[in-house]
């Protein structure tokens, strides 16, 4: 039993050591204070034109304020930037009801969408968005 207890202590200690350096997210913050976190596991960031793509998220470079490694997902409610300031966006819920539409102009479209999954339709692209 004594040995097992020692093994337990070692395990807990190991967990602690690994926890010190763990930053599972890279969080982006835009100029309006909104945040979006992406998991860093095998994360690749690319810059093309005025857009930075991190995993499945895209950011307009001019709207980015900072990024930092974080221990948790700090994504705030809202829609992340898109790569074309002049693109027209329509947001539908899963029932097909349009819940929002607005010219983006490089800013967050709407920070007040309730949690849920939405379909974002852009001028030349459609994708699914989860708001947490």
């Amino acid at each position: 039993m004594k040995k097992i207890f020692l093994l337990f202590l070692m395990l807990v200690g190991t967990l602690s050591i690994h926890a010190d350096d763990a930053y599972p997210y890279l969080t982006f913050e835009t100029t309006d204070g909104a945040k979006a976190s992406v998991a860093v596991d095998s994360l690749s960031l690319s810059i093309k034109g005025t857009t930075l793509t991190a995993g499945d998220k895209q950011f307009t470079l001019s709207n980015l304020s900072k990024m930092y490694f974080s221990t948790e997902d700090e994504t705030t409610a809202g829609i992340e930037n898109v790569n074309d300031n002049d693109n027209y966006i329509e947001v539908y819920d899963l029932q097909g009801k349009k819940v929002e539409s607005e010219m983006v102009n490089g800013k967050w479209l709407n920070g007040k969408l309730p949690r849920g999954i939405y379909i974002v339709k852009m001028k030349d692209k459609t994708y699914k968005l989860m708001v947490r």
């Binding site: 039993m1 337990f8 395990l11 967990l15 350096d21 599972p24 690749s44 980015l64 990024m67 490694f69």
Partner: protein, 644 residues
């Protein structure tokens, strides 16, 4: 069993809950710009700020976004303060640790890497390490900046066909560290303008427990504009157009294994800058500009066969070691020279003047001119005052070229030997074993000279104040002082066995007048050889009538002919048969003038020399034909005399 089951369940649960912690390692953000990747540990980055969609600043380094080729996050381990260069054929990849990213500007062109550190102080309390590895036949490293740093060779094969392999223009102290158990080979291009294959403008400390091979195809193999210190390293220089190692201020070998061969000029040379005041040795060599080669340990081997050249009518010949001062304190030093006019060791400097003929030769009215040195600078010391010292082995097989002789040791300055072990061989006329234009003082150690020309020659005085010295010349004098004054050759408490097999007029001890010899101690001196005769020369040659003033112990000049033979062991004994010393010869020696003095000899006492063919086996010290502390007795009379 039940408890164990519960506990096992807890462990599994904990493991499951913490599963991400087991799979996540320290994350690193890699920002690649061209062939340079900046590696930022997640734990260090803090906030990385974007500016106007144009740039991002990470840990003090600002990247233009359009310059960035890729950004990834992975589990790469990053060692702070490290810049790694991996050479791979025609390209090189550079990795820069995040904490020094803001201090390093790197340019990569193929496999030619140029790094300019911009820091002016330590980075996080430490200096930057540039770690080089990989292989390329067309690459280089150029390192600028103005602060101390370390260049680590971690398995590097690097050739630069157009310049130096490593060119460090940083004037500060550079540690060139060869990683343990790695082999590293560097070569530069032929016909270039670089000073060396490895060049450091500043202080260069070569170290590490790895192996480094350096070839200098244009000039030197290794050159520093400041001092060079070396320890631990296994360094091989198989060839260099000019010197193997060349530096200013001083060279210090603490330990390690250095092998230099195939050089076109000197093995190791310390050059002093012009118009810069020299210092002596300073405490821990701080701010030292002494022009000294120090060997404090390790194994140093130099094989030098470079041929001489004529430069404006002057002979430029190769040296094994060349510096203003020489301090051979410890270690194992072997120098094999075969180039004509070469010198295994050359040190000292001064003002040389040549006076006209008439009475300036060693005998018979002179050779028409003599050279004198004034304003002499430098020093030669071997060993330490406790009697310890290096093992110094020199073989000089070169010949004279344009009146410049091939010698083992040539010192313009004074030579002081405190200890160590010497084995010196020369082969040709003019090939003196140890020549000093100032003086020679042997205070300890064991020394053996086998030389065609003088074994020891000095324009000044020669002292045997300690140690054991055997001088065997087969073409000239064994010991020759041209001081021309009392004490020219002084027997103190040392042991000197000096003989020449050349025959007259070459002598065992030649100081132009036997009365110039002084006996100031209780040492042992046996000389054998020819006799200059009574006429001519500088005050006449030796004669039996010569006396030594104020001799501290008994002595005798024996001018009767003695035919010494090999394989005979000659014992000098007192009237009671007590062995004072036993000696033997490598080659038959016909002696017409012999000096005998030994511990315990007293004036007016009788002494005999007898030989036997039985080699002493009970000597406390046996050294190249000398047997001290033996009870050996001869059984065939050779000579006898009454001491003065």
């Amino acid at each position: 069993m039940k408890k164990q089951h519960i506990f096992f369940t807890i462990i599994v649960t904990l493991f499951t809950l913490h599963a991400p912690l087991f799979t996540l390692h320290a994350q690193t953000l890699n920002v690649r710009v061209g062939n340079v990747t900046y590696q930022f540990p997640a734990s260090q980055t803090g906030e990385m700020t974007y500016a106007d969609g144009q740039s991002v600043t990470i840990m003090g380094r600002t990247f233009i976004l359009t310059d960035i080729d890729a950004m990834t996050v992975d589990g790469t381990k990053v060692k702070d303060n490290t810049v790694s260069v991996e050479y791979d054929g025609e390209m090189a990849l550079v990795s820069v640790a995040g904490n020094v990213a803001q201090y390093v500007e790197t340019t990569v062109d193929g496999a030619h890497v140029s790094i300019i550190p911009t820091n002016t102080d330590d980075v996080d309390g430490d200096e930057i390490t540039y770690s080089l590895s990989g292989t390329t036949s067309n690459g280089s490293l150029t390192l600028g900046g103005a602060y101390k740093c370390t260049v680590q060779l971690a398995g590097l094969t690097l050739t630069n066909p157009t310049g130096a392999a490593i060119n460090i223009t940083n004037k500060k102290r550079i540690q060139l560290s060869v990683k343990k158990n790695t082999e590293n080979t560097l070569a530069d291009g032929a016909g270039g303008s670089q000073k060396s294959c490895i060049y450091s403008k500043g202080q260069l400390q070569l170290q590490g427990n790895g192996s480094l091979t350096v070839t200098g195809n244009t000039a030197h193999a290794i050159k520093s504009g400041d001092y060079i210190q070396l320890k631990n390293l296994t360094l091989m220089i198989p060839s260099a157009v000019d010197d193997g190692i060349n530096c200013n201020k001083y060279f210090l070998m603490e330990s390690g294994n250095v092998s230099i061969s195939g050089v076109g000029d000197d093995g190791i040379q310390v050059e002093l800058e012009e118009d810069v005041d020299t210092t002596g040795e300073t405490e821990e060599h701080k701010d030292e500009n002494s022009g000294t080669i120090y060997v404090d340990g390790g194994t140093l081997t130099i094989n030098n066969s470079a041929a001489p050249t004529l430069v404006n009518g002057d002979v430029k010949s190769a040296k094994g070691l060349k510096a203003l001062c020489m301090a051979l304190n410890a270690g194992d030093i072997t120098i094999n020279m075969s180039g004509n006019a070469s010198k295994a060791i050359s040190c000292g400097d001064g003002t040389k003047s040549t006076s006209g003929g008439g009475g300036a030769g060693p005998w018979g009215g002179g050779w028409g001119s003599s050279t004198k040195w004034t304003n002499v600078k430098g020093s030669f010391t071997m060993g330490r005052t406790d009697g310890s010292g290096p093992k110094l082995t020199i073989s000089q097989t070169g010949a004279t070229y344009n009146s410049s002789s091939a010698k083992a040791i040539k010192a313009i300055c004074a030579v002081t030997i405190y200890g160590g072990e010497t084995d010196i061989y020369t082969k040709s006329s003019g090939g003196e074993g140890l020549e000093s234009k100032t003086s020679v003082d042997i205070q300890g150690g064991q020394h053996y000279f086998k030389c065609y020309d003088d074994c020891i020659n000095s324009a000044g005085k020669i002292f045997f104040n300690g140690g054991i010295t055997v001088c065997y010349s087969y073409g000239n004098d064994a010991v020759d002082s041209n001081a021309g004054t009392a004490g020219a050759i002084t027997i103190g408490n040392g042991v000197a066995f000096a003989y020449t097999t050349k025959g007259s007029p070459e002598e065992g001890f030649d100081c132009d007048n036997n009365s110039y010899i002084q006996i100031t101690g209780t040492g042992i001196s046996i000389s054998a050889g020819g006799n200059q005769g009574g006429g001519g020369g500088w005050g006449g040659g030796g004669s039996s009538s010569s006396t030594i003033s104020n001799a501290k112990q008994g002595y005798a000049f024996v001018t009767s002919s003695i035919s010494y033979q090999i394989n005979r062991y000659y014992t000098l004994a007192d009237a009671s048969g007590n062995n004072l010393v036993t000696y033997s010869f490598e080659k038959a020696c016909s002696s017409n003038l012999a000096l005998f003095t030994a511990t315990g000899m007293t004036k007016n006492a009788k002494y005999t020399v007898k030989y036997s063919t039985t080699e002493p086996t009970d000597a406390t010290t046996a050294w190249h034909g000398l047997y001290l502390g033996s009870s050996h007795e001869g059984n065939v009379n050779v000579t006898s005399f009454t001491a003065k």
